[in-house]
Symmetry: C2
Subunit: 365 residues, 2 copies
Amino acid sequence: MDSRLKSFVSPEILSREGYTPGFQPKGKGNLIKLNTNENPFPPSPLVANAVLEQTQRLQFYPNPSSHKLRNLIAETHELQEEQVIVGNGSDDILNLCVRAFSDSTRSVGMLNPSYSLYPTLTSLQGSKLEQVEFSDDQFDLPVEKIISSGVNLFFLTNPHAPSGLSFPQHKILEILNRLDAILVVDEAYADFSTKSSISFLEYVDNLIITRTFSKSYSLAGARVGYAFSTPRIIEVLDSVREVYNVDRMSQAAAFAALSDKEYFEDCKSKIISERSKAHEFLTRLGWRTVESQANFILTEPVTKGGKAGKIVAKSLFDYLEKHDIFVRYFPNHRLTESKIRISIGTEKQMTTLFQNINNWQNENS
Amino acid sequence: MDSRLKSFVSPEILSREGYTPGFQPKGKGNLIKLNTNENPFPPSPLVANAVLEQTQRLQFYPNPSSHKLRNLIAETHELQEEQVIVGNGSDDILNLCVRAFSDSTRSVGMLNPSYSLYPTLTSLQGSKLEQVEFSDDQFDLPVEKIISSGVNLFFLTNPHAPSGLSFPQHKILEILNRLDAILVVDEAYADFSTKSSISFLEYVDNLIITRTFSKSYSLAGARVGYAFSTPRIIEVLDSVREVYNVDRMSQAAAFAALSDKEYFEDCKSKIISERSKAHEFLTRLGWRTVESQANFILTEPVTKGGKAGKIVAKSLFDYLEKHDIFVRYFPNHRLTESKIRISIGTEKQMTTLFQNINNWQNENS
């Protein structure tokens, strides 16, 4: 970059690294995409009509607060509309949290590993980041380290990614009670779990719960996220939000998807059932596999000869990719470097995956 | 706000005022909405099908860089794809400019009056704002004041809002050559004008031109904006952008609208023709009316008895509202307080407006 342009750019921006999304393979017909935790099923059939209706009104600005959608979300979760905010994906809301509750003197905390967007948003804001490590490879929630982290805002992904583990709710409540900071519980995957921290909203004043339509509602392509909190915190987040952050079609798509409870439950139970089968398959191979409460599963591949580790995990990742199956591999952390993360697909996709894993084992003793 | 929450919020956030969008009246059938510079025509008929196709793929994340759309935008304006960025409305891109090129030591400049989102974005970033005033009520571009404003980033709306005036291009080039800062020429309304600063991109290294699909392409409800600059500046803006900032449906809608050149030209010429008729009508009444190059017109109402001013402008605004015609009134600046801004509507809407203006004059001597 030439020096004149450099002088115009804020130094925080120049020095930072961007977020790298999961690889999006070009649309060949037969590939199996199990790398970005998308839902393998299309959205509710109600979505198309709802969107089509909006295409006739696109010359008009959308409702700036996504009013109808907020209302339905509140109703669905038995909250007040004032406790809900809607964003351009939950990424938008995570960004609002960072902008409202952190700056050069108010730092941000997160578990390491967890969602790699948190550091990106934090560096963009010029805030300091505290990465709290797990004590062991069981992903036990390091409660005391979080409470003493000294941050103003802490991101806790639950169910955790990339492990899929659901942290005990009483530990989250303990953090909420003792942490002198805002706790964001990022529940992007909570619809695939039996637990949520929503009920804590009655008792505490420092909780924000973020959710998304991307995973459980099959709307990753529509970019709609939401969050629950106290009316006061929602007011703060709203004051930082772009006025027209969610377009007409996305508001309508999310509204339709949320209305179709039957379709939602149906897709969800199919995914949970495939997750169980995957867990059974992988543990039967003797692979250490986290008991996942999300729509993905983290497992440690082992060769027939009993070898595990970084090279083995990378070997399986490459083998699958060569056979048009895309999973995710995170080589940069000791808790993930010997594992791969598999998004749960359709029954057919998972069967093909299992066959390929068997083949890999047979070819790599 | 209770004091514990207050302690969590950054002081810049607590003290700032939000952006107030134009009033969106509830959807009664017969109202005439000429207050937010929307296009009175629906988008190209190609949009619906393009969007519908995407509703079958919404479970997958969108292309993170809006690649196809960038490409078509570049082609349309005879630029390289590396010179184009796409945002969630041009508001998103204006925000990226503020985040990349301003901070507590790098200030932002703007003309006063112009787009009231600039101060909102600037305060959110904690950057200082320099408001450059016009020297007279002719909205003459204050070139020297801009050049000596000492900012790192300057927003110049051209055609200017709320006047509709198109500043002389040689003056913009002079600013570009002498201003030691990034100049954003916000060309939200440029499609309704005969001029643009695009050709300057060949000669200067500090120019960003922002555009939108909201106005001339009838896609305010889809939230798609774009910008042109040097590849290096686009790289910087991309590094600050949310990865999936534009959803699948909006990318497809904008692509389809941009492909339908005939429809675009047809809507545009209808609006320009109604703008001419409005100008003629208003000047025939003896009202001082800016020669607009945008899809709105700023005029100073005068009673039959020859009175003008704040009270008169507000009286017309209220009268029209009572008759379900919504225009915009900006009481907070000396250059706008005695005027009203009218978005250009359909022939039928404008005829009704003219009749109501005549009635108001007859009832207010």
